[in-house]
Symmetry: C2
């Protein structure tokens, strides 16, 4: 049953192979050259953008389901997804809205169809270099695009709230996860790292405070090399010390304690 | 339907009023005088301890459900619960194990009863002063007790894994949440705060590093007063600066950025 289903099949017969009342949504942040974006799908028959989301097969691990859903809906693969929050307000499932969408798609369902029930959704997020991946919309979308994070006004259902919560989580994690070790070159300067942090935080940071704090986290190391060729004094190069980070995690010493 | 149900009612007719395949479990950490404990229930008819957990009514917000479940199962109320992770491996629901338990309880259910389906559980945690609360077991438990966190070997189902994940989360949050502002007196010394952190982390910390780091987080302030009366030089007193913390949160400046 793990082949891709048509939209009609999914909706009419979904109760047979999906977990009831449970969905997941993916917030894929994209960073490149000091821009922060998020991957959105433009829905068919609705003038609105949505996060890529989907359902969980009855025998499927939810972590695997998140990876599969992202691949099916956007073409993205080999992406490390982190679970960040469950959205479980009863009001988040708008029965009427869904009924209207289905009518526009020409899909008939009974009033007690599984898709019209209350859904609780598990949020996953990831941060990737958006220049290295080419997203593609699935059959239920007309577009799949990277959108500037700071210009998004409104999204499908409660997806704007899900996006905001993911961004808050990402900003928190800057304190103890080596975010960016796949977004910067292997060796980078302190200003390059600071620019990454500033882009994610959406604000300027003090240079000295930044350097002091980031080094105290214990997952950045200064190399003996400098970057030559600029007009100024050659700046030191740094790299992520993932070994040290891993060891610290294992010892429960996160965050420099 | 929101009255407390008998175990038999809950299990035989639960499909009518609970969300399908979805549960929640609460990890309640207790701290007092440098001891870290967790609140566990001893199950009837099974020689095992479990986290207090339960189900979500069809129209109930999951955050409210967590508060209600904790109150119904342990008597604890007015506790701030934080969602921390969803546990969604298909193998976590042991159908046979549940069937056996039900048989011992003298409860008959059909093979397709809702309680024997796969369950995904949402984990919540809290940290309280265990000297200020008196837990009481519910009708499906024979005891409700605080157990030393470092002496727990095994628990019901995957509850040990849920507990370990909560402890990991709690330790992470020491970096950016004013944990302990209800566990220490309003004014405390730096060694008292350090002892709290050491108890939660399960390890000794360097005094100077601790003081430097904790002050850099921006939610602890030094008062002008000292504590008099000791044999040594009167130590400075500190308190949690929750106003500053709240303002920082609102501005997205968590963790001292």
């Amino acid at each position: 049953m793990k082949r891709e289903l048509s939209i009609k099949e999914t909706i009419q017969r979904g109760a047979n192979f999906f977990m009831p009342s449970l969905s997941l949504d993916c917030v894929i942040f994209g960073f490149h050259e000091n821009e922060l974006k998020v991957l959105l799908l433009k829905m068919k028959n609705a003038d609105t953008w949505a996060l890529p989301g989907g359902f969980i097969y009855k025998e499927e691990d939810i972590e695997n389901a998140a990876i599969r859903v992202l691949r099916e809906r956007t073409g993205l693969h080999d992406i490390f997804l982190r679970q960040f929050h469950v959205f479980g307000q009863p009001s988040r499932s708008e029965k009427k809205f869904h009924s209207n969408l289905l009518r526009k798609d020409g899909i008939k369902v009974s009033k007690d169809n599984w898709i019209l029930q209350r859904f609780i959704t598990v949020g996953y997020y990831a941060l990737v270099d958006f220049a290295t991946v080419t997203p593609e919309p699935d059959q239920s979308s007309v577009a799949c695009e990277w959108k500037d994070i700071y210009s998004i006004q409104d999204l499908f259902m409660d997806h704007k709230h899900i996006l905001d919560t993911a961004l808050y989580t990402l900003r928190m994690q800057l304190n103890y996860v080596p975010i960016g070790h796949k977004l910067l070159p292997q060796k980078f300067t302190m200003p390059e790292l600071q620019k990454l942090y500033e882009t994610i935080l959406g604000k300027k940071l003090d240079r000295r405070n930044f350097q002091r704090r980031i080094l105290s986290f214990g997952f950045i190391k200064r190399l003996k090399e400098t970057r030559k060729g600029g007009a100024h004094k050659a700046p030191f190069l740094y790299s992520f010390d993932l070994k040290k980070y891993k060891k610290a995690l294992e010892q429960g010493l996160q965050g420099g304690w």
